[in-house]
């Protein structure tokens, strides 16, 4: 998808792919044939640059044809570089300027509470994104309003455009920060599917907002992308993409000396 587009953000999309998969194909109640179903759970992609993983999940869920994915970022395609709620079926908010998604989620959560709607909001953020001050304004508000229908998931891949998050501007300890603001926080391995699924389900039952700090690997599943800041916002070449897909499928990559790591192998 990103290769076809010629630009985009594969690194953070791959680090959050397991989380998004768990949400769309296990945790969330949603109806791809009725995107505005009032009782649905909402997925909010606050780190809008990871649109590819959202689009893939929406397409695979049936919100629009999978073949649309190959037209990502193209002039007449509904799949914008960053999510657009008015263009793409199933996209809940327009995002892309970091730090705003959690604030929007707080407003949505309050609106849903006023209307007595049962849905849970799952908001995916980045650890680099947490450097934005507005995130903490929203965290403060989430606790103040005791939003039990809000779950924030931080895709803590430890990398941002200019390098390791700990070097650029350290955001840790994130769980302690959320707890200090009055949230229930839980650190998980964001590539351990069993744990991810269990904690996402559990978050619904908690009184007040929940932050799940998911430790992840940027570029997960693609050997040459893993933990490389350079793959934050770069499209792979055709050859690189072929190798990446084979690795993700757990197939042997011709010419490589060691077996490629499959998506089911932990890391």
């Amino acid at each position: 998808m990103v290769t076809e587009a010629g630009s985009g953000h594969p690194g953070g999309s791959l680090s959050s792919a397991d989380i998004v998969t768990a949400l769309f194909f296990h945790t969330m109640n949603h109806r791809p044939d009725e995107p505005k179903w009032p009782d649905r759970d909402r997925f909010i992609l606050s780190k809008g640059h990871c649109a590819p993983v959202l689009y893939a999940a929406l397409a695979r869920s049936g919100y629009f044809p999978v073949c649309d994915l190959l037209n990502l970022r193209k002039i007449d395609c509904h799949l914008q570089g960053h999510p657009d709620m008015n263009k793409t079926r199933g996209v809940e908010i327009s995002s892309g300027s970091l730090g705003q998604g959690l604030s929007v989620s707080v407003g949505m959560a309050l609106a849903m509470r006023l209307d007595g709607l049962p849905g849970q909001i799952f908001t995916l953020m980045g650890d680099g994104e947490s450097q934005e001050g507005e995130v903490w304004e929203a965290v403060m508000a989430g606790a103040h309003y005791k939003l039990s229908n809000l779950t924030a998931i931080v895709d803590a891949n430890g990398l941002q455009i200019d390098g390791f998050t700990r070097d650029v501007m350290n955001v840790e300890p994130l769980p302690a920060k959320f707890e200090a603001f009055g949230w229930t926080a839980k650190a998980i391995d964001g590539h351990d599917m069993a744990q991810t699924v269990e904690v996402l389900d559990w978050s619904r039952s908690v009184d007040g907002p929940v932050a799940i700090i998911a430790k992840t690997v940027k570029g997960k599943g693609v050997s040459f992308m893993e933990n490389q800041a350079g793959w934050h916002g770069k499209a792979p070449t055709v050859k690189e993409a072929e190798q990446a897909i084979m690795e993700l499928r757990g197939e042997a990559v011709p010419g490589s000396e060691t077996p490629a790591e499959g998506e089911t192998v932990g890391g």
Binding site: I93, Q100, V106, M108, L110, L114, G133, E134
Partner: protein, 316 residues
């Protein structure tokens, strides 16, 4: 002019109209950033505490939260001082409200210099320009209490995002009753043939006074209250310019980006005539009483008369 009514601030009209909207519509919610007493959203807060959200001193969060309410089917009114509503939270208004065309009403009080003694940090002189630049954003600057009241009531039904600017000081009444609609937003309050005076906000009453003064000097001035700065009523503005052949714009805002520029754009495209712009001349404000500031920054009736004569003297 409805002179028999005691002057009242436009922000007070916002507070009263918001309260009325709360009574009429269950899906109206209001947000404020620790200025509910000043913006007058406090009346709504008292009547509908379950639909009022004071987010504290966090304007960015407030604007994006308002977007969330709009997505959730509410009609949110988010108020704070104009300087914070626009400058402080510009990216949130741009990305989360304007681009997705959400029906958020950004209700900015304390527009312009007449904030007074607080000084330049709290005097918004560029907010109209900032909001005018955003695609989808409607920009409304009512002229008196009644027009503000009518505009806020009308805003409930308006599609997409809207910026409504109100002021701190008491302002004379121009409209005897709240108008049912702003219409296309350019009201010819006084017909004239020699020069057009196009004004918004607190400058409209001064334009009417200036027209009276000009009459004494045998100059027939037409006064147009431009309450919708964007989208501007091209037909009415251009017709007035064509009729009189020259104009003065007047606003409590920088001469860059506001009503003056909006009118000049209409003139340049449809009816090129000489236009003098009365406004803040690309400088920041300062502390002082509202009247002292209007005098020092040349936003008085006398300055408008002087500029009109200057424009007329330089030839059409």
């Amino acid at each position: 002019m409805a002179a028999e009514l005691k002057p009242r601030a436009t922000r007070e009209a916002y507070g009263e109209a918001l309260l009325e909207l709360g009574k009429r519509h269950d899906n109206v919610v209001a947000l404020d950033a620790d200025l509910a007493g000043s913006t007058k959203s406090g009346q709504f807060a008292k009547a509908f505490p379950e639909r009022f959200f004071n987010v504290g001193v966090a304007e960015a969060n407030m604007m994006a939260m308002a977007a969330g309410f709009a997505i959730g089917g509410k009609v949110p009114y988010a108020s704070t001082f104009a300087v914070f509503a626009t400058g402080r939270a510009y990216d949130q208004v741009r990305q989360s409200i304007a681009q997705p065309r959400l029906p958020v009403r950004v209700c900015a009080s304390h527009g312009g210099l007449t904030v007074g003694e607080d000084g330049c940090t709290h005097q918004s002189i560029e907010d109209i320009g900032l909001m005018r630049l955003l695609p989808n954003m409607k920009v409304v600057v009512p002229a008196d209490f009644n027009q503000t009241y009518g505009a806020v009531l009308e805003s409930y039904k308006t599609e997409g995002p809207m910026y409504i600017r109100t002021g701190r000081p008491k302002t004379p009444f121009l409209y005897p009753e709240p108008p049912a609609t702003l219409g296309r937003g350019a009201d010819v309050l006084r017909e004239g043939s020699d020069i057009s005076l196009l004004a918004c906000g607190i400058m409209v009453v001064r334009a009417l006074e200036a027209a009276e003064e000009l009459k004494k000097r045998d100059i027939s001035a037409e006064v147009v209250n431009v309450s919708i700065i964007k989208p501007i009523d091209v037909d009415t503005v251009a017709a007035s310019l064509a009729k009189t052949g020259c104009a003065v714009t007047a606003e409590e805002h920088s001469i860059i980006g506001g009503l003056g520029d909006a009118v000049q754009e209409v003139a340049a495209e449809y009816c090129p005539v000489r236009i003098g712009r009365l406004g803040i001349k690309d400088v920041f404000g300062k502390s002082g009483t509202p009247d002292q500031l209007l005098e020092e920054f040349h936003l008085t009736t006398e300055h408008m008369v002087g500029l009109a004569e200057q424009v007329l003297a330089s030839g059409k």
